[in-house]
Point group: C2
Chain length 156, copies 2
DNA sequence: CTGACTGCAAAATCTTTGCAAAGAC
DNA sequence: GTCTTTGCAAAGATTTTGCAGTCAG
């Protein structure tokens, strides 16, 4: 995993190259995602930042704007949950796909060489210039299969 | 492909089994999806039904409610576009995945045995009880690669 | 200084809900 | 008749936008 200082440098260069400014808010959002690996909603990030740094102000709009910027710059990636919005995670890790438990909402990451290769083949078959892909396997995780009584109470 | 009369029968049985009622609105939505293969937004369905059948009334809420019902019953399936909502298609075809063009929005369906098998393997590895999966490959379709000037005007 | 960034509140999207009237069985 | 379904409009949820003040460079 890349060190935070390097990531920060990369981010600053990116901002400079696009005539954008380095602000406390942007840094905090980046730092939050770096320190809290996993998937986070914009609101989650907003609430937790407000709590962690009561001395600085931040608005939900800034969180959305920054996440969009970070995503366009390939620093974070997002995973969509239909109407329930998106979750963001730092995207410096190796590419991976997701297993999602519909009972508890847990997200497990995996990487599979066979699938990666096959996707490229398929894109080629359709003369598609592939720019990305997402794959989600949904189901019930091991823990939830054991706690059967919980499965009906919640729904993702 | 299943005949419409059979599909309708299946739908009626499903309604009866759940003490639900067969209404003109529900039938029209099912029929629309049957006759218009491909992916449709709830609003699209609503607008087109109103236009096609000026003598019956239908509300957008009913479209949403019916689509939810049809999806839960595995008669239609949906594909999510993040904040931009969902699109629905009749789900009687063989399972398939999607290639999505980010330039023109075109959706191409494909089925790949290797990927299907590999997904089952992955689920097994994590002791996941797989209930479904979605895979989207995004990129630029063949036609849009040729019409490069159009690519920057639109965005999915 | 200048132009980008921010928070706020308002607007925009997409979807769901409450309710009284209408309809299925 | 009874209980579900419907359309409507209002409410929700999530995200975006307009704007005036603030801040980075």
């Amino acid at each position: 995993m890349i060190a935070y200082s390097l990531l920060l440098k990369k981010f600053k260069i990116l901002l400079k190259d696009n005539a954008l400014k380095f602000t406390k808010q942007r840094e905090l959002i980046l730092k939050f995602l770096y320190e809290n690996s996993g998937h986070h909603t914009p609101e989650e990030i907003y609430i937790l930042l407000k709590k962690s740094y009561p001395d600085i102000t931040i608005g939900i709009a800034t969180v959305y704007r920054t996440l969009t910027l970070l995503e366009e710059s390939d620093i974070v990636s997002s995973i969509s949950f239909g109407v329930q919005g998106k979750k963001y995670e730092i995207g410096l890790k190796k590419h991976h796909d997701h297993l999602i438990c519909t009972s508890c909402g847990k997200i497990i990451e995996f990487f599979d060489e066979t699938i990666e290769r096959q996707q490229e083949k398929i894109a080629k078959t359709f003369n598609f210039k592939m720019t990305g892909h997402t794959m989600k396997i949904v189901g019930i995780c091991e823990a939830c299969q054991k706690n059967k009584h919980q499965q009906t109470e919640e729904k993702l």
